[in-house]
C-alpha cells in the first residue's frame, strides 16, 4: 500500500506498531469478553474488525481508547499505554451513540469543531476538517438541526479534527443509506491515504471488502481469522457448486459427498460443499443429468458466517476452520 505522508500528516514517533494486544483477557463477571487476544496493527494500515455481537469488538475498542483497563495482558497504542496515547491527542474516535446524535445542543457546527480542535496539541485547521467531512456548507448550522447522516459526518469530523495518527470507528455507517455509506468511505479513504492508521468495526461486509487492507475476524473474544479479504475467503473451505438440472431431487443431492446444503430453484441447483472435487465426482457417479456446471469460492459473507458460526452448521465449519487456522494467520500486512 502507498504511504503518502503529506504535510498535514502527524510525524511518526518510531517504527513500532500502531497498536498491539498481547494476551489480553477481560471478563464481565462470568462472561469472557476477551480471551487471550493477540493483535497487532501496523502504522498506516486500515484494519476492519469483524465479528458477531458479543465477539469482543467493543471491549477491545474501549480498552484501546483507555476507557477500560485490561484485567490481564498488555496493550500498547502508538508505543505507549492507551490513556497516554489518548491524552497526547494522536488518537481520534467515533463511537456508537445509540439513539442520540452524540452532539451537544445549541451550538453551531463551526464553533463545536473549533472548540474541539483546541483540546488537541496539533490540530488540523478547522476549515480543512470541514472540507474533509463535507461540512463546509453546514458551518453555521446548529447541531439540533441536522439529519442523521449529517450528524454522523459531524461526529467523523470530531474524530479527525485533532489530526490524529490513529482513528477508531465503531460501526461508523450504522444508520446510513447506501449512498451515504459510499460517500463516507470515500472520505475515509482520502484520510487514511495520508498515512494514518484506521481501525473500524462494522457489520457491512461489502464495506470491508472495498476499504480494508486487512480483516480481523473475532469470535468469543479471540481472533479466528486474520488477513486480506482474499486470504479470508480462501481459508474457508466452503465452495459453491452450481448447475442446471430440471426436476432434481434435493434430498438425493444432499446425499452427495461433501455437500453441506442443497438448494433447488426451478431447474437451477446450488450446492454448498466442503469438498467440491468429491461432490462433482459423486454427482457424475449418481447419474443425475446436469449442465452448465460452475464451481466458485466463498464470498466474504459466507466466509464470515463460516468463521463466526453465526448460522449454518457451526460445528462442522468450526472443525474445518480450526484445522486450517495456522495457514490463515498472515500477520501484519505492512
Amino acid at each position: 500500500m502507498s504511504l503518502r505522508r503529506g504535510s498535514t500528516c502527524p510525524g511518526s514517533d518510531g517504527g513500532g506498531p500502531a497498536l498491539q494486544f498481547s494476551g489480553v483477557v477481560h471478563r464481565y463477571r462470568s462472561l469472557v469478553a476477551l480471551d487471550h487476544l493477540d493483535l497487532e496493527v501496523a502504522r498506516g494500515e486500515t484494519l476492519a474488525l469483524l465479528g458477531p455481537n458479543g465477539a469482543g469488538k467493543s471491549t477491545a475498542i474501549s480498552i484501546l481508547l483507555g476507557l477500560q483497563r485490561p484485567q490481564e495482558g498488555h496493550v500498547s497504542v502508538l508505543g505507549t499505554d492507551p490513556r497516554s496515547a489518548m491524552a497526547s491527542g494522536k488518537v481520534g474516535a467515533m463511537l456508537q451513540v445509540g439513539g442520540g446524535s452524540g452532539l451537544p445542543h445549541g451550538v453551531k457546527i463551526g464553533d463545536l469543531l473549533t472548540m474541539t480542535s483546541r483540546l488537541y496539541r496539533n490540530p488540523s485547521p478547522v476549515e480543512r476538517t470541514l472540507e474533509r467531512a463535507g461540512l463546509t456548507d453546514l458551518v453555521d448550522r446548529p447541531t439540533q438541526r441536522l439529519s442523521g447522516g449529517q450528524a454522523q459526518r459531524v461526529r467523523f469530523a470530531l474524530a479527525i479534527v485533532g489530526d490524529p495518527e490513529l482513528v477508531f470507528l465503531d460501526e461508523p455507517t450504522i444508520a446510513m443509506d447506501v449512498e451515504g455509506r459510499r460517500n463516507f468511505w470515500a472520505m475515509m479513504r482520502c484520510f487514511s491515504e495520508e498515512g494514518r492508521t484506521v481501525v473500524f468495526a462494522t457489520h457491512h461486509l461489502d464495506e470491508v471488502d472495498a476499504v480494508a487492507d486487512r480483516i480481523v475476524v473475532m469470535r468469543r473474544g479471540s481472533v479466528v481469522a486474520n488477513g486480506a479479504a482474499c486470504t479470508i475467503k480462501a481459508a474457508v473451505p466452503t465452495r459453491r457448486v452450481r448447475f442446471a438440472s430440471p426436476g432434481a431431487d434435493p434430498v438425493r443431492l444432499r446425499e452427495l459427498d461433501g455437500v453441506n446444503a442443497a438448494c433447488v430453484r426451478g431447474s437451477e441447483v446450488v450446492l454448498d460443499s466442503l469438498d467440491a472435487d468429491a461432490t462433482v465426482r459423486s454427482l457424475v457417479a449418481s447419474g443425475v443429468a446436469f449442465s452448465d456446471i460452475e464451481v466458485t469460492g466463498a464470498d466474504l459473507e459466507q466466509a464470515f458466517v463460516a468463521l463466526t458460526g453465526d448460522l449454518a452448521d457451526a460445528h462442522t465449519v468450526d472443525d474445518a476452520v480450526a484445522s486450517r487456522r495456522p495457514s490463515v494467520q498472515t500477520g501484519s500486512a505492512a
Binding site: 489518548m86 446524535s101 452524540g102 445549541g106 470530531l158
Partner: protein
C-alpha cells in the same frame, strides 16, 4: 490546559446564548422581586435592614441558585443521553474536567445573574448601600452559589433527560420556599424554621442578609455551605466514576 479554557468558554457561551435558560435565570428573580417588593412596606425594618434590601438579597441568591441548578441538571442529563459526554471522553480532555468545567461554567453565569438582581434593587427598589457593601455582598452570594452548582451537576447525573427538568424545578421551589427566600424565616411556623436551618438556600441568603445589615457573616452559615459543597462534590465525583465505568462496559 488551553484545552480546558476553550471548553469552559464554550460551555459559558452555550449557556449565555440559550434564551430560555437566561430568561429563567434572570427573569424569575427580577420578576419576583418587582412583584413581591410591595407585599410589605419597602422601608419596613427586618433583620437589621430594610425589606427592599433584605428581599433583594433573597432574590439574588434565588437567581444564583436557579442559574446553577438549570446549568447543570437539565443540560447534563440530555448530554449524557445524546452521547456527547462519551465523545468528550475520547478527546485529550482528562475525565475529571467534564464535571469541573460544568461547575465552573455555572459559577461564571451565576455572577452576572446576582449583579442583575442587585441592579434591579438599586434602580427600581431604591436599595442604597456603600460600594464596599455591594462588593462584599456580591462576593459572598457568588461564592455561596457553589453548593448549588454541584447540586445541579448531581441532578444531571442521577436524572434522565425526561426527569431532570421537573426535578430541577421542584428543587428550585422547595429550596427557595423552605429556605425562607420568599417568606422571611422569622415569619415561618417553628417547624419550618427548623427545616430551613438544614437547607443550603437559607444559609446562602443568611450570609448576604448579614452583610447588608452590617453584621459579620456567620461562621455557622459558611460551615454548612462548605459542608454541602464538599459532600455534593464527593457524591458527584463518585457518580461520575460509576457512570464512566458503566458507560463503556
Amino acid at each position: 490546559m488551553t484545552g480546558l479554557g476553550a471548553f469552559l468558554r464554550f460551555e459559558v457561551l452555550r449557556l449565555s446564548r440559550n434564551v430560555r435558560y437566561v430568561g429563567i435565570s434572570v427573569g424569575f428573580p427580577v420578576v419576583f422581586y418587582t412583584l413581591f417588593l410591595h407585599n410589605e412596606h419597602p422601608a419596613a425594618h427586618i433583620a437589621g435592614t430594610t425589606w427592599r434590601t433584605y428581599f433583594m438579597v433573597s432574590m439574588a441568591s434565588f437567581g444564583a441558585m436557579v442559574a446553577s441548578l438549570n446549568a447543570g441538571g437539565t443540560r447534563l442529563a440530555s448530554e449524557r443521553a445524546s452521547g456527547w459526554t462519551r465523545q468528550l471522553r475520547v478527546t485529550p480532555l482528562p475525565a475529571w474536567s467534564y464535571v469541573t468545567t460544568k461547575i465552573a461554567a455555572s459559577m461564571v453565569i451565576a455572577l452576572p445573574v446576582i449583579a442583575v438582581v442587585e441592579l434591579t434593587g438599586l434602580l427600581f427598589g431604591g436599595v442604597r448601600l456603600g460600594l464596599g457593601t455591594w462588593m462584599a455582598l456580591t462576593a459572598v452570594l457568588w461564592v455561596s452559589a457553589l453548593p448549588f452548582a454541584a447540586l445541579g451537576v448531581l441532578v444531571g447525573f442521577v436524572a434522565s433527560s425526561e426527569t431532570a427538568y421537573p426535578l430541577v424545578t421542584a428543587l428550585m421551589f422547595l429550596l427557595s420556599f423552605f429556605g425562607g427566600l420568599f417568606t422571611p424565616v422569622g415569619d415561618l411556623p417553628v417547624v419550618l424554621r427548623h427545616v430551613a436551618s438544614f437547607l443550603p438556600s437559607y444559609h446562602d441568603a443568611s450570609l448576604g442578609w448579614a452583610v447588608v445589615a452590617g453584621r459579620p457573616p456567620g461562621f455557622g452559615d459558611a460551615g454548612v455551605l462548605l459542608g454541602y459543597a464538599v459532600l455534593l462534590g464527593l457524591v458527584v465525583t463518585w457518580r461520575h466514576r460509576v457512570e464512566d465505568s458503566r458507560a463503556f462496559a
